[in-house]
Symmetry: C2
């Protein structure tokens, strides 16, 4: 660890390993889109592989809503493998034998980077809802400071799925001269009305839990587990597809021969959802969930440029490789196509791949050989260029 | 009112007008699929138009999950027009100048028919979770008793959308000799894994509300409004389509010029959802919501016939007219097609219409001229046959 992180962790045990962490003080405040700034903040991150001599092989991976920096190594909270070990590692599509991979926990998160669960240095108490709202652009601004701190003038690539893809897009818009290629996967340039709606349901479920305590649950020694579990269950459905749910679960009963005529879970899909909810609350902070969903809702790259998405990308835009999945109804292919069209309008170098799968949005985390080939090929092309 | 209903109403004021009601006593118990029976139960219903001399013009309309018997007249709880006045009335597609329309509140409901909010005659207290689980077949069994009580040997038609369509299908399976034609709209012969999942999220939201009190909230003087509102908000998203939400709301802000950087509703879609949640809890009982969603989850017409949907419909099947909507992702067209295929396998008289619309599942409640023409034509054909 570069510096000892100074924060109270509500999920992991105190002093738990969050990988590396860099702390920025009042000399380097993080200016936020909301107008406020953080004059003390920590970014927790992991790296894999080695930075080469001319510092030209760095790949930044951006995580999704509930992800973290443990992209390719065991997660210290869950004890489970990293969330993208299928993609990142020695010999994998993002090959850590060749590339120096960086993955940072987003600002607003709960895995070591400064977020609402951390103590506010001004009061000594957890921020809770006094933490400023952060945006995807703020997350990327903090990542840029981290990358600079690591002495890397230009990233080879920024890669991410879902909210990670939003960050990749934002990198291209905010720091086009500091990245050679970006790879937004299963994402959009703006969050849709339906996606905002699902997020708001999740937030309302959390806030409806009396143990949320107006966001001050840490001070009061409670945890809004029930509300957070409901939020996770609702969201989880949107990460899959109807076809995948039917294929995996259908109407199969859970450990029983016949319907129980009770409200306990009869169907496997119900038990599966319960498990998703229960395991999530053990590893995630409820206020972080509010903040990060809000950041996604606020994401609208065109709005930052008078409604013209093309204007977000200039003549010096990095190379783009965009991936979508046919059964992803959270971020349908049409969203990726509109990004490609905007990039075409500024004559950017862009390739777009739609992958046929029934696995829904979460396909980006799963075994999709065409995605692996595309990612590998794009990085090879960037490295060879 | 035929007989004074004997129950405690948690939503409407005591003695509120629930239309007509018929009470069945121990001499005519309702045998339920769960193995229990109700030896006292009430079915509240409305009628519109006049029964003709040979009693051949009766059309039974079955309501959806949160519907009720007020299909074509003002709802006494909300004061709003009936839920299908666009379809039912003088000169409308289901023309009350020609047809005698019956619409009954389902058993398990909360608008006058016996359900979990009613007092258990055995204890004098509200049933709560001691009310037996009911199925769509049970709902239809009670309707058949009502129709018999009204002296109608054979219905001209049974029409319904969503869960109402499930009931129409069940009528064809349970009482093929007692109905000339059935019209299932925007439904399926079995509830999908994804639909069960969304229902379970809603139930968990209700049960997570401490005011639910293990289902005994009436006795304890509380109302699980927050949980029920979350359940409704989540469900409401599934009734629409992404395209309709984008068209109606997009990312338009609610009464503000710029993002607030707070958690209060910034977007119109959020305010709209809040309104849907808040208005629902004023008119619906939380336990009824649990019971009726469970009835839909349990619906699987093929399972009642060793997995063969075709076997649910015999040689004497009524005529079918099935309607689906292109943008309905809750009950996609493929579900309706599989019903049509099963009916073809038994050489039943079936027509199937898929209507192009971006309005999603709720299209069946909205202004869809092709649906109106189809309904009118089918009833005319039945009446002329």
């Amino acid at each position: 660890m570069s510096e000892a992180p100074k924060f109270l962790r509500p999920v992991t045990a105190p002093g738990a390993d969050v990988g590396h962490a860099v702390h920025f003080g009042p000399d380097r405040p993080l200016a936020l889109d909301c107008g406020r700034s953080l004059s003390h903040f920590t970014i927790a991150y992991m790296t894999y592989g080695a930075l080469n001599a001319d510092k030209s092989n760095a790949v930044l991976i951006c995580h999704a809503l509930t992800g973290d920096q443990f992209v390719a190594s065991d997660n210290p909270v869950t004890g489970k493998p990293g969330w993208w070990t299928i993609m990142v590692g020695p010999g994998k599509p993002i090959d850590t034998d060749r590339f120096f991979v960086i993955c940072a926990n987003v600002v607003g998160g709960c895995m070591g980077s400064t977020g609402p669960a951390e103590n506010d240095p001004a009061t000594g108490d957890p921020y809770g809802l006094s933490f400023p709202l952060v945006t995807v652009r703020d997350m990327v601004r903090a990542q840029a400071m981290l990358v600079e701190q690591l002495g890397i003038a230009k990233l080879l690539a920024v890669v991410g799925g879902s909210m990670g893809g939003m960050q990749a897009l934002q990198w291209a818009a905010s720091y086009p001269g500091r990245v050679r290629g970006v790879m937004p996967i299963a994402c959009a340039a703006r969050h849709s009305a339906q996606n905002i709606a699902f997020h708001e349901v999740g937030r309302q479920a959390i806030m409806a839990d009396p143990d949320w305590q107006g966001g001050e649950y840490q001070l009061r020694g409670t945890t809004p587990s029930k509300g957070l579990a409901v939020a996770r269950m609702a969201a989880h459905i949107t990460y899959l597809s109807e076809a995948a749910l039917q294929r995996k679960f259908g109407r199969t009963l859970q450990n029983r021969e016949a319907l129980s005529f009770k409200f306990a879970p009869d169907f496997q899909i119900e038990s599966y959802l319960h498990h998703q909810g229960a395991s999530f609350v053990d590893r995630f902070d409820a206020n972080s969930y509010l903040y990060i969903t809000r950041a996604m809702d606020y994401f609208d790259l065109a709005a930052d440029h008078d409604g013209h998405l093309a204007a977000a990308f200039g003549a010096n835009a990095p190379r783009f490789c965009i991936i979508s999945f046919t059964s992803d109804w959270l971020f349908p292919t049409a969203e990726s196509k509109s990004i490609a069209h905007a990039l075409n309008a500024v004559a950017a170098n862009v390739s777009f791949v739609e992958i046929k799968t029934d696995k829904g949005h979460d396909a980006f985390l799963l075994d999709e050989p065409e995605m692996f080939g595309t990612v590998r090929g794009f990085l090879n092309a960037l490295a060879g260029a």
